[in-house]
Symmetry: C2
Subunit: 140 residues, 2 copies
């Protein structure tokens, strides 16, 4: 039987290490990984409020304000006030943001992709199942 406390420690360490390693690989167009992650939501979902975007990314509103400001400065998204409720800010992707995402999807996670290419089919399947589990855990 598996010792869950032991596994928790190993999992935390493993995730910590990979996060550090991934940060060393530069995403395209000088966007950070967090910015890419938020932009991907706008790309997928279309126009949505700042609050919904914060919820989707599981960050606090001030953190999302920062990310949106950075993405706006980079010309990736536009902020507009919702006419139906002037408290809300609608965030939508620009042409440039769309093309950046399309390029990014094509070259996605290049470093990680290269590393994965060395793994066996079994190992890839394990990681695939693990991804779903990690996202589930993070959503608690």
């Amino acid at each position: 039987m598996t010792d869950t406390a032991e596994l928790a420690g190993e999992l935390r360490l493993a995730v910590h290490r990979l996060t550090r390693r991934l940060r060393q690989e530069n995403p395209p167009d000088d966007l950070t990984l967090s910015q890419i992650s938020a932009l991907a939501v706008v790309f997928r979902e279309g126009s949505l409020t700042a609050g919904d975007l914060a919820a989707a990314e599981q960050v606090r509103p001030p953190s999302m304000t920062r990310m949106i400001a950075a993405l706006e400065t980079a010309g990736m998204v536009e902020r507009t006030t919702n006419p139906a409720d002037a408290r809300q800010v609608m965030v939508s992707i620009t042409e440039r943001g769309r093309s950046t995402m399309e390029t990014y999807i094509r070259l996605r996670e290049q470093w990680l992709t290269e590393q994965l290419a060395d793994l066996s089919g079994d190992e890839l399947a394990t990681l695939q199942r693990a991804c779903d589990l990690l996202v589930r855990l993070a959503g608690r």
Copy 2:
């Protein structure tokens, strides 16, 4: 067959999410997760140089200098100059550091442990195998 580029994207997202979620759970004695991680190495390995500790944790020397300073302030480790080579700083765990680690190991990763308790044996086995793979990937 698995699309490794697709999987790379999912894996990056999953790891990102879990890192953020874990950061919300407070480690004991006001130590951060990174500090606990470094302290665990000193606890396991015994006295070692700052450089070896940086290598073990896969961070740059200045980052380790910071971590060691924080751990020293918290009374968890001691820094001493190596008499055999006065350039080197030896880092060793204090009584307080040892007892903190022992408590931590006992309560380790409580939140994560609780979440894991809800998973099936199959799912735990998947995560166990995934841990080894993630650490291997991070080590490239």
